[in-house]
């Protein structure tokens, strides 16, 4: 068997193993799903059917893809970051390092499992957004949604790995994750697209991956006025930078 073949086989095997343990801890899985879906229903019940101020854009065409982006962040950034910090704290990573499993195969397996979880969350979000609020993606926008989700998982997954390395302990990983993404998500208008911030702050937020991902996904639902190319650039930049930082800072113990 070629080295690459073995690598891929091991990654897939690891991803399946990780998925199995994710779904086994029902509580954990439930809350990972509950948060984005509860927010979707909450925001939807108050704003669905209305138009964004000064536009002909229906609110659900914006908040449904925003919650899609939120689901990506929760699954890839918060969950993965906390999970890896816990595995490191428990000495599981140290143990894996004693085996011939290549580090790359292990990490891609873990990221693969995260991608599967993210896909499940976003699928639920999209279906509820469609059934409950009538938000249907544009046929032409499926490429944006697919590409945005894939890039989003890589970007926020890498940042989750960085977070796990930065956190001093397993206990601090989750609070640290929440403290970093939540303010950015609010200021990026994830929960309320009319949320307004000073111009300079808005420019700074535009350089962060949260609004970039949300806008790419919004583009998949309704053509809106912004530059998708620059969003893509921002997200790709964070994915590359985050990936490099994740590999560089990664510690087995």
């Amino acid at each position: 068997m070629t080295t690459l073949g073995r690598h891929v086989r091991l990654s897939v095997r690891q991803a399946l193993h990780e998925q199995r343990s994710f779904w086994r801890s029902a509580e954990y899985a439930l809350f990972t799903f509950a948060l984005p879906l509860a927010l979707l229903l909450l925001i939807g019940s108050t704003t669905a059917g209305g138009f964004l101020p000064g536009t002909h854009v229906k609110a659900q065409m914006i908040f449904v893809p925003s919650i899609l982006a939120f689901g990506v962040i929760v699954a890839a950034y918060v969950n993965l970051g906390a999970k890896i910090a816990t595995l490191r704290h428990d000495g599981v990573l140290k143990r894996i390092r004693t085996t011939p499993l290549p580090a790359g195969a292990y990490l891609s397996g873990v990221l693969g499992s995260t991608a599967a979880t993210t896909l499940a969350i976003t699928a639920c979000t999209a279906v509820i957004g469609w059934v409950a609020f009538g938000a249907v993606p544009r046929a032409a926008g499926l490429a944006e949604i697919g590409g945005g989700l894939a890039l989003g998982v890589v970007c926020f997954g890498s940042l989750g790995l960085v977070l796990s390395s930065v956190a001093r302990s397993a206990e601090s990983a989750s609070p640290l994750a929440n403290a970093t993404y939540l303010p950015v998500a609010i200021m990026s208008g994830i929960f309320d697209p009319t949320f307004s911030v000073p111009r300079w702050l808005s420019a700074a937020i535009g350089l962060l991956p949260v609004r970039a991902l949300a806008q790419i996904l919004q583009q998949g639902y309704t053509p809106v006025e912004h530059a998708p190319a620059s969003d893509l650039l921002v997200l790709a930049g964070w994915a590359v930078g985050g990936g490099a930082l994740a590999v560089w800072r990664f510690r087995w113990q």
Binding site: L10, R13, Q14, H17, R20, S21, F22, R24, S25, T86, L87, H89, D90, G91, V92, K94, R95, R97, T98, T99, P100, L101, P102
Partner: protein, 318 residues
Amino acid sequence: MTQLMAMPEHAATAEPLAIEVSGLTMSYGSRQVLRGVDFEVRSGEVFCLLGPNGAGKTTTVEILEGFRQRTGGDVRVLGVDPADQRARLRERIGIVLQECGFPRQARVAELIDIWRAYYSAPRPLEELLALVELTADRACQVRRLSGGQRRRLDFALALAGDPDLMFLDEPTTGFDPESRRRCWAAIENLRSLGKTIVLTTHYLDEAERLADRVAILQDGRVQTAGSVRQVAREAGVPTTISFTAPKRLRSGDVAAPGCLEVEVLGEVARCRVPNAAVALRELLAWTAAHGLGDLDDLRVETPTLEDAYLRLVDGRSR
């Protein structure tokens, strides 16, 4: 050149070496931790590395395992240099680290199974479960296992790839006597499979019970190495001979044999001698000469590894 000279010698003894360490040095910055360590581990033996905290045991083992780059010296583990061929070595060694967790949601058999997938020629699952006596607990969640069961699961994971060489780092620290005994039994199972085992421990009774050979590491050097008996002899700890003192000895009617320093404490006479066989001959001749009959409760206590260790280690540090 040394290779060529060393080869026939090993072939002659028919005991290939699993590990060869010579002149191993290691420095962290200006602090020198290993100052020229030499020892060998033969294939199929249980080798125990002893030494006080800070002597360099962990550093040595981590270099052998390929986790740490040495500063100098030669190291061969299963014929390869662990610094160059870490990935290749991983296939053939099993490591039981002292404190190492399990994924929280995993079950016993499924965890062993994923570990087997990491190796190219794993041992069968059922065999691994049987070896560590966890067959009945195969479906058990890992977090519900007792300390002793967890340690045996550690062994199973380290054995998953059917390694030739295993490193066990303080395998029974903090265990109750029953768990220790089962753990020892598991280690003896490993030995009977023909695995070479490198053990580090703080328990000298454990080393004495399990090890074929030991090395005592102190201040970054191997102070002494060899079989347990050799080490004890080398440390110069005397053998103790004791017996119930005959009445006539206690009353002063008969003098103790002149060549032995016998001290009488209450009913018990005791002497410490370098050579038990010579001393016993003297003693029996003395009883015969004085018509003292058979000595009651005659005991010969050869020095334990603990006696030797304490003597060697304390002698140096104090």
